[in-house]
């Protein structure tokens, strides 16, 4: 459910000295693979470099307002409100987009059994605190997080309600304009016949159209919470606010104070406000929906772990919106991230890693010289030894391919055979009621014959964490119900599908960190690069402008297509 992929806001509080951490530092601050550990609570606290000491990472927990019908206007109102109170955060660059409802350290970061620990045995790591203790830093971080998250929630609700109030005010204002004279000085009003009635009807229908339009445009479940103000929404909010305020101002001065008697004029005044609101709605449609439809940029998203890449065409979007767009497409385009497939097989790597250990016997003059000399010797020796490992890699790969193909053949045959054992009950078949099965039972009946082949195949292709027996049975039942062929059943297992295909609790991660060198409300430009980080891999997105095409026209007369035989021509000279 892409629609429920919500992201929560996270703010990065950089000290007001406003030093801008460069992109690399920001990337280094968020941890690389393998170093994330839960701290006893279901929150993920990455280790950070010293430049980001005040960084607060918003950890995930359920956020219940997913079902609130927040209009788009509400959010930027809240954002504006919040950003005003945190001016120091103007200069920070790294924000976290995170969706609630899932524990942060989800099972996606399982470490495969065959992950090669590339740190040799001789490496010693000295840590300040042990992994299982909570340092003082962590405690302060936790308390700060709790405050922040509570504060964030309050402000979000506040923002939503404020924006809703403004929308309601804008709606009711025309009605108020028309009703107030009737209530306050009804006796003095000039009677107004047909023109007024016509105007009443038009106001009613225009308000209805405005209501429907606003419902269609704004009252949608938000798919993401952006870290920053959505500039266009803020603009629209300000516009509506100013409009309503100025109308009320004039109304108060010209009509209420002077008790204008011309009721038709008052009604026309109200109608003009409704027209203006309709035009603002039109502006909202153009700015929020239409402007980004025409493709202007091509985004290349590359997954850092294994190099899977895709290209997407987007229109004019801000960086944060483009990030959400990329994430939406990531879940159904990219093959699922399988950490077990990343590393070279152990047999190849182990030879590489067991390099020489160079001992210096009794030479103590020039330690730096010595060490560089040592390292050079080691590298040179390793370079010479490396000659054979590509060979091994090649043969290992070929062997693996062969093994996979053999297992796959066995699996396909087993499944085909299993599927021949059952068939759909026809109407006119006379069968013993005891023999009639529902899909679940049918699936269980034929599963046994293919279970072993399936298990072996999944093991060989390192997919076994993704498919439990229960899930296979369910899929089998699904295929049987819909009369699918064995090939259709197998399609799910023979190729690694996109992440969204798998059981969502396991593989759909909600926390992504957006790292960007430019402020994330900036629009996309040619050459912008931003990174969407997860715990064990990241998506590096780079932008290229779609070139301006110069199309010229050339008319080809259909009669001009003429051909001759290629002969040997002879010319006399």
């Amino acid at each position: 459910k892409i629609e429920s992929l919500k992201v929560t806001v996270d703010f990065l509080k950089v000290p007001l000295g406003l030093k801008k951490p460069p992109l690399k530092e920001a990337l280094a601050a968020v941890p690389g693979p393998g170093r994330a550990k839960p701290l006893g609570v279901e929150r993920h606290k990455p280790r950070r470099s010293d430049t980001m000491d005040n960084e607060s990472q918003y950890s995930g927990y359920s956020y219940k307002s997913g079902h609130s019908r927040s209009s788009r206007k509400h959010r930027d109102r809240r954002d504006r409100h919040r950003s005003k109170s945190r001016d120091g955060s103007r200069g920070d660059k790294s924000v976290t987009i995170q969706a609630p409802g899932e524990p942060l350290l989800d099972n996606e970061s399982t470490r495969g059994d065959e992950r090669d620990d590339n740190w040799g045995e001789t490496t010693t790591v000295v840590t300040g605190t042990s992994e299982h203790s909570i340092s003082h830093d962590d405690i302060t971080r936790i308390t700060k997080d709790m405050e922040d998250s509570a504060h964030l929630d309050c402000s979000r609700h506040l923002g939503v309600s404020l924006a809703g109030a403004l929308a309601l005010l804008a709606f009711l204002t025309p009605l108020a304009f028309m009703l107030l004279p009737q209530l306050l000085w009804r006796e003095e009003l000039e009677p107004c016949g047909t023109p007024c009635e016509g105007l009443f009807i038009s106001v009613a229908f225009k308000l209805l159209i405005l209501l429907l339009g606003s419902w269609a445009l704004f009252f949608r479940r938000p798919k993401a919470f952006f870290p920053r103000v959505f500039v266009f929404r803020a603009l629209l909010m300000v516009l509506v606010f100013l409009l309503v305020v100025s109308y009320w101002l004039f109304y108060g001065v010209r009509i209420l104070d002077s008790r204008d008697r011309n009721y038709q004029g008052v009604v026309q005044y109200a109608v003009s406000l409704v027209d203006a609101l309709l035009f603002v709605h039109y502006l909202a449609v153009v700015l929020l929906e239409l402007r980004q439809l025409q493709p202007q940029f091509t985004l290349k998203a590359v997954r850092s772990a294994d190099g899977a890449s895709r290209f997407y065409n987007v229109g004019h979007l801000s960086i944060q919106r483009a990030a959400v767009w990329i994430l939406e497409n990531y879940y159904h385009d990219f093959p699922v991230y399988n950490p077990a497939l990343l590393n070279l097989p152990k047999s190849v790597l182990s030879k590489k890693m067991s390099g020489f250990k160079v001992y210096s016997l009794g030479e103590a003059e020039n330690t730096t010289n010595n060490s560089t000399g040592q390292s050079r010797a080691v590298i040179a020796a390793a370079a010479r030894r490396r000659d054979n490992s590509h060979n091994e890699y090649y043969y290992e790969e070929a062997e693996h391919e062969r093994r996979v193909r053999k297992r796959r053949a066995r699996l396909v045959v087993a499944v085909e055979e299993a599927f021949t054992h059952i068939k759909r009950l026809q109407e006119d078949d006379q069968k013993n009621p005891r023999e009639i099965m529902d899909p679940r039972e049918a699936a269980q009946a034929i599963f046994a014959s293919m279970a072993r082949a399936m298990q072996k195949y999944l093991r060989t292709t390192k997919q076994q964490p993704y498919h439990t027996m229960e899930s296979i049975l369910q899929h089998l039942e699904f295929c049987i119900t819909h009369d699918m062929t064995p090939k259709a059943f197998l399609e799910r297992y023979l190729t690694a599908g996109p992440t969204i295909q798998y059981h969502k609790d396991r593989w759909l991660a909600k926390q992504w960190t957006l790292v960007s060198e430019e402020p994330v409300t900036n629009g996309l430009k040619d050459g912008v690069v931003f990174v969407l980080k997860r715990q064990d891999f990241s998506l590096v997105v780079s932008t290229k402008k779609i070139p301006f095409f110069k199309l010229s026209e050339e008319f080809v007369d259909p009669k001009s297509h003429k051909f001759v035989m290629r002969l040997q021509s002879e010319t006399s000279v």
């Binding site: 002969l567 040997q568 021509s569 002879e570 010319t571 006399s572 000279v573």
Partner: protein, 125 residues
Amino acid sequence: PVITTLSYFIIFFQQRIEIHKLRQGDNLILGFSIGGGIDQDPTQNPFSEDKTDKGIYVTRVTEGGPAEVAGLQIGDKIMQVNGWDMTMVTHDQARKRLTKRNEEVVRLLVTRQSLQKAVQQSMMS
């Protein structure tokens, strides 16, 4: 007894031929016809040894014309004309290079195939 063996060799040799153009009315003619060129179909060339050869070949020599007088023979491949290379030219370019109006003399470098009989006499004793 004497055993005579007869073998044939195919020899390519180059020859330089100088043709003095003949004035006929308004034109200067050379008295032969050419075929070939990089824009032509080389498989239809009856004179070339290699059927992918797109060079310029002499396809006809008029009797008594300046070319025959100078010693040009049918089947010759023209390699150069007055120093201009003729091995990679189109048919029209070749024609133009041969029929330049301000040149009275053209010096050709041609290649000719010739079948040479070689008689070997070997003595068997």
